[in-house]
């Protein structure tokens, strides 16, 4: 089976190849574009599933791991190895990314049908898919980082797809720059790691940097502030992950990224790209969990991850409550759920975090596609206050959207969201470091339930608040999306429901698969499901969810909303707080005020410096050279020329005078000779020879 690993590089290569070909195909070849993109991704999906199946039968403490490394670059006596790895974590992610990607590709053929840049769109999509698959299976931090950057590029291109819209262009730039800030941390970590361990390959038959000896060595060294080297590296990696996954300080770009087409939002800002950050932390989990010998307690890196996740969850949920744009609410929900994933990773480890990531991928993709269908149906209308009553007009969309909403909110038992969130809360509850994340998690769950019900009520219940008298005009009437859009919705809805059953406490299949060491798999065991402590937790979370739903229904469901301009219910209750939340807690303004101003200040300073100091210097030098040139010329003009000319003139005049003596007349010569002889005689006689 391990020959499959040799072919594994095809998985990312095919979409990238497709992207390359599509970049060259002319615009009108839409069929080729769609076919090529979907075909290559389908192939990757088949390969990924085959690879996943091959990893199932593995036994052994770490589960299946097959590694393929090759030397890529040698300079001096250093060589840099790249490679890819097939282990449970990467296999699961490969399948998830390719499956969700395929579904969204199919969906976008329908959604983007009307757009003239169809081929370019699919080219970018293939580029993104290839890059994401490469990130997932990379065995070397360099390859991972390269793919990571490619993903960032793809997200920039896709967000700014409609670059005619200035908002889209600005959003793309903002996304790129913010994730870039995060990437700096990752880059620094990479360099430091290389310096510390001498290799960037994760698993290299014992020499890899994530394997026990290297990690132990890293944990052994302490850096400033008592932090161990591994902890410091982890924090830097966390910075990169936070940037890419839109955690609190760097989350500002994600809501704005909604400017891109909805399939993009679904693919990138729900399922895959944002999950990359979480995957990165999962991949480098041994680094995060590294502990110097004998040290007990939760390692500081994991504590940071947990707290970061909890805070982001609550923060984003609060903002989502006050949003009026359909996709922005979902965006903030994604940020909140990513917080939950980090929380899961921090408290529960890889399995817990990854389980929620998988489930979230499915139902968030579903919600986004649903929103896309709604927007498509309402001809581009995104403000929920002008929507309403679509339940009747778009029954399939309403049904699938409702499933997605319930999975997200965490309605118990049937939906996967409940199980993955429950696992996180369970882990948070038993987290030894501090109970804080557990309570934040509960409050977040409450808020999630509340803003989802608010959104569903606004969109699907009550009268249609869109164009007045809309029903009479056929063109303007919101209509159900064609099957090309609804079938992917149905598929995703099925995934949202079924996936939950893999991770229930009774049969933690997924957890066992991801981390066989921690979770022994002995077959379905209802006992664990009904154990006292588990039941208590499940009851608590169910209560919280139901409370959220009720609160949401109470605020918005009781009276049908008819006036699009009517103030929000919450606004009536808490106008100040609500307005604050609506303005996204003025984080952007904060950044605007601090970072941007500071940056422009530095830029201005740089400009002034450049203009005056360097410019001045250049002018000075120029002046000097010109002056010197003038000096040289003057010197030459007056000094040398004149001097030379006068010297020549004098010489010539002397010459003529001398020539005058050469009269050719013999007597003159004779006299001269005799005078000379006399002088000589004089000299001899009285010159001191007496």
């Amino acid at each position: 089976m391990n020959d499959l690993v040799n072919q594994l590089w095809l998985v990312p290569a095919l979409p990238l190849l497709a992207a390359g070909v599509l970049a060259l195909t002319p615009r009108h070849r839409r069929g080729l574009a769609a076919g090529l993109a979907i075909g290559t991704l389908a192939l990757s999906l088949v390969l990924s599933v085959a690879a996943w199946v091959s990893t199932l039968g593995a036994t052994g403490p770490d589960g299946f791991r097959a590694v393929r490394n090759f030397p890529w670059l040698t300079w001096g006596d250093h060589t840099l190895h790249l490679g890819w790895v097939l282990d449970p974590l990467s296999a699961v992610m490969l399948v998830m990314v390719s499956f969700v990607g395929l579904v969204i590709f199919v969906y976008s053929t329908g959604y983007m049908a009307g757009d003239e840049n169809f081929t370019r769109f699919f080219g970018f999509l293939s580029l993104f898919a290839g890059a994401m698959l490469a990130v997932v299976m990379a065995n070397s931090l360099v390859l991972l980082f390269a793919a990571w950057e490619l993903v960032g590029l793809a997200s920039y291109l896709l967000i700014g797809f409609w670059f005619q819209k200035p908002a889209a262009a600005a959003a793309a730039r903002k996304a790129f720059l913010t994730t870039r800030v995060g990437d700096l941390g990752l880059f620094a970590a990479m360099l430091w790691l290389y310096d510390a361990t001498g290799t960037l390959v994760f698993f290299d038959g014992g020499r890899g940097c994530l394997e026990a000896p290297a990690v132990a060595a890293l944990a052994g060294q302490t850096v400033m502030g008592g932090l161990t080297l591994s902890a410091a590296l982890s924090l830097l990696v966390l910075l990169g992950a936070a940037g890419k996954s839109g955690q609190v300080p760097l989350h500002v770009w994600l809501p704005d990224a909604m400017e891109g087409p909805t399939p993009v939002s679904a693919l990138i800002h729900a399922a895959t790209m944002v999950a990359a950050g979480v995957f990165l932390v999962a991949r480098l989990f041994p680094l995060f969990a590294a502990q110097p010998e004998g040290a007990s307690g939760v390692p500081p890196a994991l504590q940071a991850v947990a707290w970061l996740g909890a805070v982001t969850a609550v923060f984003a949920a609060l903002i989502a409550v006050a949003q009026t744009d359909l996709k922005r609410i979902l965006a903030y929900s994604t940020v909140s759920q990513l917080g939950y994933m980090f929380l899961g990773l921090g408290v529960g480890g890889v399995a817990v975090g990854m389980f929620h990531l998988l489930t979230h991928a499915f139902f968030k993709a579903l919600l986004f596609l649903g929103a896309g269908a709604v927007i498509h149906g309402c001809h581009g209308e995104q403000d929920i206050r002008r929507l309403g009553g679509l339940g009747r007009l778009m029954p399939v969309t309403f049904a699938t959207y409702a499933v997605g909403m319930m999975a997200l909110a965490g309605v118990p038992l049937l939906f996967s969201g409940f199980w993955s969130k429950e696992a996180i809360l369970h882990a948070a509850h038993t987290w030894p470091a501090s109970p804080g994340p557990f309570y934040l998690g509960l409050f977040g769950a409450l808020l999630t339930a509340f803003y989802m019900t608010r959104q569903v009520v606004f969109v699907f219940f009550g009268p249609y608040r869109g164009e007045k008298g809309a029903p009479t005009q056929p063109g303007k009437v919101p209509h159900e999306s064609p099957p090309l859009l609804t079938v992917p919705l149905i598929l995703l809805a099925a995934g949202a429901i079924l996936l939950g059953f893999f991770g229930t406490p009774a049969w933690p299949g997924l957890q066992a698969y991801l981390e066989p060491a921690r979770v022994g798999l002995t077959g379905p065991d209802l006992a664990r499901l009904v154990s006292a402590e588990a039941l208590k937790l499940m009851a608590l979370s169910t209560a919280v969810v139901l409370a959220g739903l009720a609160l949401g229904w109470w605020c918005y469901g009781r009276r049908p909303l008819t006036d699009p301009t009517a103030p929000d219910a919450l606004e009536l209750a808490q106008p100040g707080l609500f307005r604050l939340l609506r303005e996204r807690l003025r984080v952007d303004e904060l950044y605007e005020a601090t970072v941007v101003r500071w940056h422009t200040g530095w830029a201005a300073l740089g400009d002034r410096l450049d203009r005056w100091v360097w410019g001045g210097l250049v002018l000075l030098i120029q002046g000097l050279t010109v002056g010197l040139a003038w000096l040289g010329r003057a010197l030459d003009e007056f000094g040398v020329n004149d001097g030379f000319d006068t010297a020549c003139e004098r010489l010539r005049r002397g010459g003529t005078r001398l020539a005058a003596t050469a009269t050719g007349r013999l007597p003159g010569y004779l006299r001269g000779a005799m005078a000379g002889a006399a002088a000589l005689g004089l000299l001899l006689l009285w010159g001191g020879c007496r």
């Binding site: 020539a659 050719g664 007349r665 013999l666 007597p667 004779l670 005799m674």
Partner: protein
């Protein structure tokens, strides 16, 4: 005034007269004559030293003078031949007209 000094004074005067003539005369031939006078003065000088120098035994002095006389004769012959040839070309003997070598 020992006889030697007397002779030397006379030869010096003769030399001076010869030189003055050579330097002032315009006619080339007389310049040659002046030179001849200077040569005779030299001979006089040699003989004076020979006579009063105490070496009268050795015949080197007169021998030397004979040679000087011979050379003077040769020199005059050639000089005058040149002057005659030059006269035929230029129709003049005035020295200061012979300035074709003017610088």
């Amino acid at each position: 005034m020992s006889p030697l000094e007397r002779a030397l004074v006379v030869s010096a005067l003769l030399f001076g007269i010869g030189l003055a003539g050579a330097l002032t005369r315009r006619n080339a031939i007389l310049v040659l004559a002046g030179i001849e006078l200077m040569l005779t003065a030299v001979n006089l000088n040699v003989i004076a030293f020979w006579r009063h120098g105490g070496q009268t035994a050795s015949a080197a002095g007169p021998a030397f003078v004979l040679f000087v006389i011979a050379v003077a004769a040769a020199e005059t012959a050639v000089g005058l031949a040149l002057i005659i040839a030059w006269f035929r070309q230029r129709r003049t003997v005035q020295l200061d007209e012979a300035d074709t070598l003017k610088g």
